[in-house]
Symmetry: C2
């Protein structure tokens, strides 16, 4: 199958190659009638502008790279939450006429050289790097690159971030449990400096408690990262402490899934004996029984915001990190409302 070029379209249309190029880029310089004729002929011959040539000449690839963190050596599943982000970013990019390169990456790679210096992509979105203090340090070197990370938004941090308002989300979840009458509310999540996003959720939790005249009890906090296994272990630890509690706020849905499993294994009913709230709203949250009450991160909005900010970074505009408002989704895991 012979490759059709703009020169051939030009011959067929009886114009110069430059005019074909202009017409297909919808330049206002060409006569509208000429443009329509050229467009028709191009369509009839299935002609598409060669992207390599176009990119080379114009020095723009109209492509962004979406890099998803992959645990080195692990075959583990990606957090379903990131899948949702990935889809919404891809859709938002398509709406702006940008292509998206997808890749799973380890922490150590030199992304800027790999994607920007090679002209494969004009900018990079990072997903799943929120908890990596290592990486955040490294990003300082990237100041004039076009990298946008989904993660914690912290005052004065280097680099560019978009993230959920974790403090607000933690506050909403905890306030909801307090209003249901719970006073002994456990918190499951790693609140060390390694997990600034979970710290934010915890800080919202503490905030809500104090608004109700209560204080966070360290005996009701157990560390957990974002996995069912880890949530399972955290509940076991909590139960072994023989502390009294009637509700659990989990810093991620995967943690909540594991926690519910562990509670049920120990003969505790959810929500009968213990109420549970999660964070993320992954697809599993609606499929399980009881359906999980959780704090939804608005991925559709987040994807649009991220693409918008990344394209502005690429254009060299000044941009600021931005927070996405979360939303409480009440389902079954805290009893009927």
């Amino acid at each position: 199958m012979h490759k059709v070029t703009s020169l051939e379209i030009a011959e067929l249309a009886g114009v110069s190659q430059s005019t074909v190029s202009r017409a297909l880029r919808k330049s206002p310089l060409v006569n509208p009638e000429t443009r329509r004729r050229i467009q028709r002929i191009a369509r009839e011959h299935n002609y598409k502008v060669d992207r390599s040539a176009s990119n080379l000449r114009s020095q723009h690839s109209r492509t962004i790279a979406m890099l998803v963190h992959e645990e080195s050596g692990m075959d583990s599943d990606i957090n379903p939450f990131f899948v949702s982000m990935l889809a919404s970013i891809t859709r938002a990019a398509a709406a702006r006429n940008y292509d998206v390169l997808l890749s799973f990456q380890q922490l150590s790679k030199n992304w800027i050289a790999d994607y920007e210096n090679s002209n494969k992509a004009e900018g990079i979105v990072l997903l799943g790097y929120g908890g990596y203090t290592d990486y955040i340090r490294k990003i300082e070197l990237l100041d004039n690159a076009h990298v946008l990370t989904w993660g914690p938004v912290i005052d004065g941090q280097p680099g560019h971030f978009v993230g959920c308002d974790n403090r607000r989300g933690g506050y909403m979840a905890t306030r909801y449990l307090l209003k249901l009458g719970h006073t002994r509310i456990a918190f499951l999540g790693d609140i060390s400096d390694d997990c600034p996003e979970f710290q934010g959720r915890y800080s919202g939790y503490c905030n809500a408690l104090s608004r109700f005249g209560l204080r966070a009890d360290p005996a009701l906090q157990a560390s957990s990262h974002s996995s069912t296994h880890s949530g399972h272990l955290a509940v076991r630890e909590l139960l072994s402490r023989k502390e009294d509690f009637s509700a659990v706020f989990c810093s991620s849905d995967l943690t909540a899934l594991g926690a519910i499993h562990a509670l049920q294994e120990n003969g505790l009913k959810v929500p009968g004996d213990i109420s549970v709230v999660g964070f993320d709203d992954i697809p599993s949250a609606t499929h399980m029984s009881p359906a999980l009450t959780t704090v939804r991160q608005n991925t559709a909005k987040a994807g649009e915001v991220m693409v918008d900010i990344l394209l502005r970074l690429i254009r060299g505009e000044y941009v600021q990190s931005q927070l996405i408002e979360p939303e409480l989704l009440v389902r079954e895991s805290c009893g009927s409302d």
Copy 2:
């Protein structure tokens, strides 16, 4: 920030630009010592070969497009199964030094023109188009394009397919239930010609029954496509028929999730009263309670096979459609083994 070119690397290394190009492509023509020197200088200056220029000159993009079907106008979630395929295809492509463009597409688009004629990608993988008879008809026109679809593998069909051995999977699931002593086994899934993959699973189900001297009872089959909602409705229909059954084989995990919910709502315990088997092994399958016994489609293997076959198509080699062997994963939804 100035863009480094191969010409500058050449000057720094005291060689010609051609030699730089050869060295970085690891041509055996260049002196190993010269090559190492050039590589070092390139690394020090963060030089990367410009992909647009390289692509244009060599007429190869080393990129494949991964197109995921998106219901027109719908905001619905992608089947989690495809997410797993997507990750494994991306990894397999990366291992072969190919980049992956991700896009969500509607049925009507002219993919060949959009991706191949524009030189954006050398080949296309389609996910989620398995059930579209419309599309399958259309693919006949694509004979000399490089398109590989994840879907039903049927003798004599046009186009190139990789898919799960659905008949074998249906057989395994049903045989397992029969061995547990069930004789009244319901089948949930659309077995019309629109869903050749479900037809395959159903045919395996019938096969297993007849091996055990039983016959498929039409009263125990209810239509359902791949969604929780649809599984929920199918169980309601089944129950309204007042037929006796002790097990349900669902043609997808999403169907199984909805089915279990509906059974529980009607006071039936899973697996106490009814055993359930799914198909796909989506992440939710392990998270729910009871954990779902299901037929796993091996996505890691499938991704590798698909990339391998697509690259062979691209090279113009003769390829055949291929079946991926499924595997039964026994968990909790049929009782303890």
